[in-house]
């Protein structure tokens, strides 16, 4: 089948609209259709309304406003012909087989044979959807099960029928992977596929056990969340998020679809409190509240939680469980903790892990698929088999037996083995055949995780490492806590430049943390400031400036490959790279002003040079400086890689990778393409507005102050920034060198770090994670 160049989505509900948006995010045109509402003047009101909603949702569904223009809207009565040139049609309508099949029959008239048709069903088996359909349809049909929200959830479950053309499946999987950035997990045609099958069991188990053991909702969430590597919403917070009404619906559907001997039936019971809450409109965050709710008392709001026994709301009591604290990272200790806490942790987790093992082979063909589905579909840090490895299979099996719980065959057979092992540097998993097999990454996927397993770093210290990623390319990795930047990272970067010069052709800066880097370690900086270690702080700033400058002018290409947040110093590293290959989900910004500082590692100069080179700006030194002043003083952060280009944190020529797992390979390829004939950049010379510009920018800042939009200290910070971006004492005809600008930047930074309001901002941000407006 040919590559997918246009996609059709039918059904403009949350899922359909979100899927359409993600197709558009990939730069691919998409047709979004829905029914004609009864008596509507605008026959395409549903699809159009959906796009309008997409533009407003938070977190944003579109990576850039431009993407919305790629969505063509319509209705299924007048516009089905718009699907005729689509290479893939996704159906996301009501979960009713008869409705879906009626639609499929309509499609038969318009779609080109050999184009893919998929359903986003989460509950209906494929065999039921294709029953009675034509052979041609059955050959082109598959299930593509996205997770909500489709932009951000990386899992895509694909189910192919026995008659589905493998080429169709491959084409859709490839598009979903490369263009939409999804990690594809192939599932058997069994109820709930993989993630929801296990997820529904887990939530139901955690709910009923909480009632049975008399846990409070806070306790249950404190046990089932963080300590197990699950999202901190735990169980009741998660139900509130998903909607209380969803549970009974999916439970009912599982009840009908699952085989009689499935372990789910034993815990499948209606919970009167939940039924009552739904009836009264307490359907969770989308309704009046759920297990938690926000209560308003005049201008104040406070969180309340429901008492599971009485069904009454009461003030939330954060659970402070010594058993959880004592167990720390030791999962066994948590599961064997005395009293209710240990009992609850054990009953929920052990039964969920056992259930996971029972899914092989009926729902999934390997532990890798199940683990990946739970990591990407439910945001678990580790999948169930990784968790079993942490507990020990023998230990778990023995405990399950002791508790009189069922032990699935696959689990019993695996006693004495781990589900994963590393053999000669390669990650392997335990197959259903009892033998180990290599975990094979798709072509074009390169993971630092795998490289690190296979070898030793070229360089390493406490906060960073340098890896050989093959073909003459080295990869610089931050390894500090939360990838915060410190003296060690800067030190190793300097060493790296010398090493790469001698032994490699190019350098990629990349890591596999949740975020590329949130910036400098402000905790260390604050402590240093509190003990007045000014010369040490200034040395650190100067060292960072010089290291990034050395990286910029190194005789080899440097490609930064950010994913997640690249803020402050993290952004400055991106700015100093010769080119960037960014994950589409990159949130980039110079946020120093938020903590009362300004960029100190050359970020100001890099931004000035970029805006100065923009031919669309009016001539003269002021517009570029004004753009930088505006972007930095407001601590602007891009909400995607595409948006980062608008702010010039990325260049138009920089690359964007949709799939996180392909980022390193793409960055490496980009670096290699630059090697031939590589010439380091020429140092910029700046013509800046000088004192008059600074006065003007300060005037603008004072305007915000007068309107109550800026504080007195914001003005101090803005003035320091204005001084730098206007070139300080420079006259408008002076040429300011890169080093002069760095010196100005450093001096202004040092002035700010000595002010009490800046230190108060840093402290507040460290202690609360929130900015302080002082």
């Amino acid at each position: 089948m040919p590559a997918i160049r246009k996609v059709g989505v039918i059904g403009a509900g949350t899922m359909g609209a979100g899927i359409a948006a993600q197709v558009a995010n990939a730069g691919v045109p998409v047709v979004l259709l829905d029914i004609v509402p009864e008596g509507a003047a605008n026959r395409s009101a549903l699809a159009e309304g959906a796009v309008a909603r997409l533009l407003k949702t938070e977190p944003a569904a579109f990576m850039h406003k431009r993407a919305a223009k790629l969505v063509e809207t319509g209705n299924i009565e007048d516009d089905l012909h718009k699907l005729s040139d689509c290479d893939w049609i996704v159906e996301a309508v009501l979960e009713k087989p008869e409705v879906k099949q009626a639609l499929y029959r309509k499609l038969e008239g318009v779609r080109r044979p050999g184009t893919a048709v998929s359903s986003n069903t989460s509950t209906i088996p494929l065999r039921m959807l294709t029953a009675g359909m034509s052979e041609a349809f059955r050959r082109d049909f598959l299930i593509t099960h996205f997770f909500n929200p489709p932009r951000y959830m990386r899992l895509l479950e694909i189910v192919a029928g026995p008659e589905t053309d493998p080429a169709i499946v491959d084409a859709v999987a490839r598009f979903a992977d490369l263009a939409m950035g999804k990690s594809v997990v192939r599932c058997a045609d069994s109820p709930g596929f993989i993630a929801n099958r296990l997820g529904i069991y887990w939530i139901q188990r955690a709910t009923v056990e909480a009632f049975d053991l008399g846990m409070t909702v806070e306790e249950a969430d404190a046990i089932i969340g963080r300590p197990m590597g699950f999202p901190k919403t735990g169980v009741f917070g998660l139900i509130d998020l998903v909607g209380l009404d969803i549970g009974p619906q999916v439970n009912a559907s599982m009840r009908r679809a699952l085989p009689k001997d499935d372990a789910f039936h034993a815990i499948d019971r209606e919970i009167p409190l939940i039924a009552r809450l739904i009836a009264e409109g307490y359907t969770g965050r989308k309704g009046k509240g759920g297990f938690y709710r926000m209560k308003k008392h005049g201008p104040h709001r406070s969180k309340e939680a429901i008492d599971l026994a009485t069904g009454e709301y009461r003030p939330e009591h954060k659970a402070d469980l010594p058993e959880v604290k004592a167990a720390g990272r030791d999962l066994r200790a948590l599961l064997t903790a005395p009293g209710r806490v240990g009992a609850y942790a054990f009953r929920v987790l052990a039964s969920t892990l056992a259930y996971a093992a029972s899914l092989l082979p009926q729902a999934a063909d390997s532990v890798v698929a199940v683990d990946e589905a739970m990591r990407l579909g439910y945001n678990w840090k580790e999948g169930p088999f990784e968790l079993i490895d942490r507990l020990g299979t023998a230990w778990l099996v023995e405990r399950l037996h002791a508790a009189g719980m069922t032990v699935p065959k696959f689990l019993e057979e695996s006693v004495g083995k781990t589900f994963y092992r590393v053999e000669s540097g390669r990650l392997q998993y335990l197959g259903l055949d009892g033998a180990y097999h290599d975990v094979v990454r798709p072509v074009g996927v390169l993971l630092l995780e795998d490289i690190k397993r296979a070898g030793k770093p070229v360089l390493k210290n406490a906060s960073a490492a340098l890896w050989d990623i093959g073909d003459g390319v080295a990869c610089f990795e931050f390894t500090s806590k939360s990838n915060s930047l410190d003296d060690q990272i800067i030190g190793l970067l300097v060493e790296t430049i010398a090493t790469v010069k001698q032994r490699f052709k190019a350098l990629v800066i990349y890591n596999e943390g949740e975020n590329f880097s949130l910036g400098a370690n402000i905790g260390l900086a604050l402590f240093a400031a509190n003990i007045a270690a000014w010369s040490e702080i200034e040395k650190s700033v100067a060292a960072g400036q010089q290291a990034l400058k050395a990286m910029k002018y190194a005789p080899f290409p440097v490609v930064a490959a950010p994913s997640g947040m690249a803020l402050g110093g993290g952004c400055e590293i991106v700015l100093h790279a010769d080119a960037v290959q960014a994950h589409a989900e990159s949130y980039i910004g110079l946020v120093e002003c938020g903590v009362g500082l300004i960029p100190g590692w050359g970020g100001n100069g890099e931004m000035l040079a970029r805006w100065r080179a923009d031919k669309k700006l009016p001539r003269g030194p002021v517009p570029a400086a004004a753009k930088v002043f505006e972007t930095v003083s407001t601590a602007t952060v891009s909400k995607s890689a595409h948006e980062a280009m608008d702010y010039k944190f990325l260049r138009e020529t920089d690359g964007v990778t949709m799939n996180r797992t392909r980022l390193l390979a793409d960055a490496k390829a980009r670096a290699l393409r630059m090697v031939e004939g590589y010439v380091p950049p020429t140092p910029p010379e700046y013509v800046l507005p000088g004192i008059a510009g600074r006065v003007g920018f300060n005037g603008a800042a004072r305007g915000f102050f007068r309107r109550g939009l800026a504080t007195a200290h914001d003005l101090t910070v803005a003035d320091a920034l204005a001084e730098v971006v206007t070139g300080g004492p420079a006259d408008i005809i002076d040429v300011v060198s890169e080093q002069q600008l760095l010196d100005l930047e450093r001096a202004a930074f040092m002035r700010l770090v000595r002010t009490a309001p800046t230190l108060a901002r840093i402290e507040h941000t460290l202690e609360t994670g929130k900015p302080l407006r002082n």
């Binding site: 604050l526 402590f527 400031a529 509190n530 003990i531 007045a532 000014w534 402290e763 460290l766």
Partner: protein
């Protein structure tokens, strides 16, 4: 024989010139306080201390306290002295005017305390503890308790105590066993035994108000289950006068190394009636609000004794004729030169003087901060002062009491054999000084408080109040034509302190024993730098004043010389302390417990 003259000139210098007492009037409730008012109070206090308290110091030590049938007899003259002290209003000076106090600032009170400690530390413990109890009740007691008890505690008719320690628990109060059982009328019945209760029983006042830490029946285990109770020796009758005897008796008094005229009692509470002060289970918090002031007072005890000992040693060194100056006879007309001509004797005298005057200056700074944290109009200023006070409290308590003991030892040394015998009273100062290193939290505990709690709080925010002014001063004065070298010396010691701080912050984070191993040296280093900062500031100030000073020229000139002595002969210890800190815990943790 002991003699004492209150160092009023130096106190005025510290309060008015160094810490700008004129600006105290900007603080809430201190509008009427002026340098003139402070001077008159200090002069009056000096008279009482020199004329009434000092003459009883040696005799009180000689006689000690006696326990007779549950009644403690203080030494001869103490009761009369206490009456004069009380009639002079000295129990009320820093108390709230609402309860009859004079509402004077800590800044002044601590100076008066210094004089009391110099002249008769044992006597000073009685009103000192009463003031501690007053502060706890005033900040945490119910309005009813305050109205019933504070006026008489303020006017000195009643005294007070703090009952914390039990036989099996001192530092670790979480272990304490004394019980409190709630009664239907809202009172409590307290039962248990307390030891080391200063002023737990005596014949100076008609009633004694004990503040007792005890555990309620529903209390959580450990330090979070302790409540504070007010337990009077005599239950006040309807007319407010002492009525029925309460169930608290003194079963023994301790025989001690020093402060013998201070009754250190074992108290037995048996179904004693008491009332809750503050909230249930929050007794430690109630205690800790007055701890800053109390610990500063203990530091001032070290200062007071260093001053008294210095005065004795100087007088003796001038009079005592022995041998000749190493540079040749200075007084050929006499059979020998006075020993003050000898470098080593001067070393001892100047060390004592540099300690005393440096500590006085630092105490003035911290006392001022106590005033600001309680009375500044601006919330930020109160918070800054609270941060600074919290930081400096362990430093002042431990450093001053250590230096007080060192100084009194040096004082004995100047006297030679005559210091060791009792006639001159020099050994009494050393004996009296020793306890300050132990009570109100041993100096080891102070050091742990500094490195374990004060240093890491809010990423080092508490440190700012000290490090920033010192750093600013060094930056501003490092090139000073006259003081540049001195300030650079301070800069060097301050640099060692910064490095040591960063070292502990980074090492101690992962290994609490590393912080513990560095604690005592770190506190000393911190303290030496703090005194160095005071001396550098005093030197700059003295140099400014000197040209226009007529009768005071000698005072300022001596300040300059003593500053130089401190900078050149004492402060360089900072380098050695830093080296020791940096070496880490290995040397002290390696030896097996059994090998000791």
């Amino acid at each position: 024989m002991q003699t004492y003259k209150a160092p009023l000139r130096d106190m005025r210098f510290v309060l008015h010139e160094l810490h700008d007492s004129a600006s105290l009037s900007a603080l809430n409730g201190l509008e009427e306080v002026s340098p003139e008012l402070i001077d008159s109070i200090l002069e009056e206090a000096a008279k009482v201390c020199e004329e009434v308290l000092a003459p009883l110091n040696a005799s009180g030590d000689e006689e000690g306290c006696r326990l007779e049938n549950g009644v403690v007899r203080t030494p001869k003259g103490f009761a009369e002295a206490y009456r004069a002290f009380r009639d002079g209003g000295w129990t009320a000076i820093a108390c709230d005017p609402r309860y009859g106090g004079q509402g004077l600032p800590h800044s002044v009170n601590k100076a008066v305390e210094e004089m009391i400690c110099s002249s008769n530390l044992a006597f000073g413990t009685y009103p000192g503890l009463a003031f501690g109890a007053y502060q706890a009740i005033a900040s945490h007691g119910s309005e009813d308790l305050k109205q019933r008890f504070l006026p008489k505690m303020v006017d000195g008719t009643w005294a007070g105590t703090m009952c914390l320690t039990e036989a099996h628990c001192g530092t670790d109060l979480g272990l304490l066993r004394t019980r409190a059982v709630p009664q239907e009328d809202g009172s409590y019945r307290i039962t248990g035994s307390k030891i080391f209760i200063t002023g737990g029983e005596h014949d100076l006042t008609e009633n004694i108000i004990h503040l007792v830490l005890a555990r309620l029946p529903d209390a959580p285990a450990g330090i979070k289950g302790i409540s504070l109770f007010l337990v009077p020796k005599f239950l006040p009758a309807a007319d407010g006068r002492p009525g029925e005897r309460n169930g608290v008796v003194c079963t023994a008094i301790e025989h001690k190394m020093g402060i013998k005229a201070s009754a250190t009692c074992q108290l037995s509470f048996e179904n004693a009636t008491g009332w809750l002060v503050g909230q249930k289970h929050k007794g430690m918090a109630a205690m800790f609000t007055m701890m800053n002031s109390e610990r500063l007072s203990v530091g001032v005890q070290g200062l007071g004794l260093a001053e008294a000992s210095y005065q004795g040693a100087v007088a003796y060194a001038r009079e005592r004729l022995q041998g000749r100056s190493l540079a040749g006879a200075k007084h050929p007309d006499k059979p020998a030169d006075p020993i003050i001509v000898h470098p080593d004797v001067r070393r001892m005298l100047l060390t004592m003087r540099a300690y005393a005057e440096g500590c006085r200056a630092l105490a003035g700074w911290v006392a001022r901060s106590l005033d600001e944290m309680e009375r500044a109009g601006d919330q930020d200023a109160r918070q800054r002062a609270a941060d600074f006070t919290a930081l400096m409290t362990p430093v002042v308590k431990a450093l001053f009491s250590d230096l007080g003991f060192e100084a009194t030892n040096l004082g004995m040394q100047v006297f030679g054999g005559h210091g060791y015998i009792r006639d001159h009273g020099m050994e009494q100062y050393a004996r009296d000084a020793r306890i300050a290193m132990i009570y109100e939290g041993t100096n080891g505990v102070q050091a742990l408080d500094l490195v374990g709690r004060k240093l890491p709080q809010h990423s080092g925010r508490l440190l700012r109040g000290f490090f920033h002014p010192v750093s600013d001063f060094i930056e501003a004065n490092a090139q000073h034509p006259q003081f540049g070298a001195m300030v650079q010396g301070l800069g060097k010691a301050f640099g060692a302190l910064q490095l040591a701080t960063a070292h502990i912050a980074s090492k101690g984070l992962g290994d609490a024993e590393e912080a513990g191993a560095a604690a005592s040296e770190y506190l000393r280093l911190f303290g030496l730098v703090a005194l160095g900062f005071m001396w550098a500031r005093m030197a700059v100030l003295a140099a400014e004043k000197l040209p226009a000073a007529n009768s005071d020229a000698g005072f300022y000139a001596a300040k300059l010389t003593t500053a130089r002595f401190y900078m050149e002969r004492v402060l360089p210890q900072a380098g050695g302390l830093y080296a020791a800190i940096k070496s880490g815990k290995a040397a002290m943790m390696a030896l097996d417990d059994a090998a000791f």
